[in-house]
């Protein structure tokens, strides 16, 4: 936790915000009226006990739920500055996903070469120029602190790497297309502590360029990496605020109970 607390002189710019967001898995209402801002170039952490809807909320941002029948949104998620409503039926989810990347809980590189993994987002965008892709791949791998380890084995299969490397590769893949937001769903929960450390460090760096939304079940991690924290419980947003506020003096009793480990 940062030892010196500097209050922001002016509030950061809004990158996205959800408004009265409900979500249904068939009959089951997994999110209940979540309204929450996401600030530009900041890391926002979502915490809460297992099953509270963190992943569900996160996956609304890139319309991942569209892949499954019977999943239903209700409400809006606005993306700024152009104020597109991500959840609008007329907005193409593919377009949304091109602007908002995601990194998953389990590293999930494609069973292709390291190079192709990173280049994938560009290929999907119809990018053909080899030299342009080369540059982007290099930049992304550097951004994910993987360049030194990977530069001599770009053609090796990605699955041959260690778990931590794989996860960094997935981050590189997400970075390569210059997304506006990157979503992380418990990106370190399958990793050992050392790999976890390097990923956390990485998140601290990439937020210079992108906005980060991260789900974690590890409160210490939230405290370490995030600028803002949202505490969810049973599908509801209980409290949202600056991370040090939430951890030092939570306004709600439930948040405090959870953070001090009295339950969860």
């Amino acid at each position: 936790m940062p030892s010196t607390i500097t209050l922001p002189t002016k509030p950061p710019a809004l990158k996205a915000e959800s408004k009265q967001l409900d979500f249904y898995y068939g009959e089951f209402k997994a999110l209940k009226g979540i309204s929450m801002p996401v600030f530009e170039n900041k890391v926002t952490a979502l915490i809460g006990p297992s099953g509270c809807g963190k992943s569900t909320y996160l996956r609304c941002f890139n319309r991942m739920h569209d892949l499954y029948p019977g999943h239903r949104y209700d409400g809006q998620i606005y993306l700024h500055p152009d104020e597109v409503d991500v959840l609008d039926r007329h907005v193409d989810p593919i377009e949304v996903r091109m602007r908002i990347s995601m990194v998953f809980q389990k590293p999930n590189p494609f069973p292709k070469s390291i190079y192709e993994n990173v280049a994938y987002g560009l290929r999907v965008r119809g990018e053909k120029s080899r030299s342009y892709i080369d540059d982007k791949v290099e930049a992304a791998l550097k951004g994910a602190a993987l360049w030194n380890e990977a530069k001599d084995r770009l053609d090796d299969l990605a699955v041959a790497m260690s778990g931590g490397q794989q996860q960094r590769l997935c981050i590189a893949r997400a970075l390569a297309t210059d997304p506006e937001i990157i979503l992380f769903d418990e990106p370190t929960s399958a990793l050992d502590p050392i790999a976890t450390g390097s990923i956390e460090e990485l998140i601290g760096e990439i937020k210079q360029k992108v906005t980060v939304l991260i789900v974690t079940h590890n409160m210490q991690q939230a405290a370490r990496v995030s600028d803002y924290t949202a505490y969810m419980y049973l599908g509801e947003l209980i409290e949202f605020g600056e991370t040090r506020e939430i951890f030092m003096k939570p306004k709600r009793k439930e948040t405090e109970d959870y953070i001090t480990g009295r339950f969860g």
């Binding site: 892949l67 593919i94 999930n108 494609f110 069973p111 994938y120 299969l157 893949r173």
Partner: protein, 314 residues
């Protein structure tokens, strides 16, 4: 009951061991049973193989593969038969593979669950069980007469393609289903469209399984006799289909598709029904070749699957 409980507990150490021993006897018994069942299958295969080998191998020579059929058993060969089989298989594969994969992709990735996909699904399982001879009847009515394709390589290839389509579709679906969901999610999250996900990821990663299905299908098709008899493959044919590129490029290219032909099972069938026993030896030799072809295809499938799987891990 408390008494009873403690009673049971008391006897545990010794008696439990006895019970375990008794149960383990079942393990051994069942293991043996499984082995026995397996060996029945494998032994049958071996018996078949040896049987054919003993009868057929003396007839196997280079000429056997390069000679046309003849009324003299010692001069008869399988040239037109194996070339015919190979060409028919080529057509079958070229039709069944894309159709089967496309159908499977649709059902597995695109189709929404409704009565229509239900119908397609039941229909496919049902087709898998339709006797091959009925495909022959279909082909006779449809390809030979309605489309006027005649008794050609194309007709036979299409017929067998329809016959193995359910196999290809089912195995392809199986292969697609075994690709973990996170691969799809990862690709979608990169902004891929559905077709991109399918063509960049699902089909390539499913290839080992798809290939297996295709080869199993083809090895079934290559041995099919009944439908080919029904559409009327020829029995005596002492020339080969025209070589493509021989005539004028666009016209001459596909002449072979409409050429008359014969295939291995027909040749075997014909030889076995000859009065002269010398032909039965020919039939055994041809059967041996045919089984060897299927074995070869299966071996290829295993090898390919192994090779391709090595590069695909989740």
């Amino acid at each position: 009951m408390a008494n009873d409980t403690s009673l049971k507990r008391d006897r545990s150490a010794q008696e439990l061991r006895a019970i375990i021993r008794r149960h383990k006897r079942w393990d051994i018994l069942f293991g043996l049973l499984g082995l026995l069942a397996l060996s029945i299958g494998i032994l049958t295969l071996a018996a078949l193989f040896v049987d054919m080998a003993v009868a057929g191998i003396p007839r196997l020579s280079a000429e056997f593969f390069t000679e046309f059929p003849s009324r003299r058993a010692s001069q008869a060969g399988i040239l037109s038969a194996w070339v015919g089989s190979a060409l028919v298989m080529a057509v079958t594969a070229l039709v069944a593979v894309p159709l089967g994969i496309a159908g499977a992709v649709y059902l597995e990735e695109y189709a929404r669950k409704n009565w229509f996909t239900d119908v397609i699904e039941i229909n496919i399982t049902n087709l898998a069980g339709v006797p091959s001879i009925i495909y022959g009847l279909l082909a006779l009515g449809l390809f030979v007469y309605t489309f006027g394709l005649g008794q050609s390589i194309l007709t036979a290839g299409l017929t067998l393609a329809l016959l193995i389509l359910p196999i290809v579709i089912t195995t392809t679906r199986e292969a697609l289903r075994s690709i973990p969901q996170h691969v799809r999610e990862a690709a979608y999250a990169c902004g891929a469209s559905q077709w991109q996900v399918v063509s960049h990821h699902l089909v390539p990663y499913g290839t080992p399984g798809i290939l297996t299905g295709v080869i199993i299908g083809l090895s079934r098709a290559i041995g099919e006799t009944a439908p080919i008899i029904t559409i009327g493959a020829l029995t005596f044919i002492a020339f080969l289909p025209p070589v493509p590129f021989q005539g004028e490029p666009p016209a001459g290219m596909f002449d072979w598709l409409f050429s008359p032909f014969t295939v291995m099972p027909i040749q075997i069938f014909n030889w076995t029904s000859r009065p002269d026993p010398a032909f039965h030896q020919n039939a055994a030799a041809a059967s041996f070749v045919l089984v060897f072809m299927t074995l070869g295809m299966n071996a290829l499938a295993i090898w390919l699957r192994y090779r391709l799987r090595k590069n695909i891990k989740w």
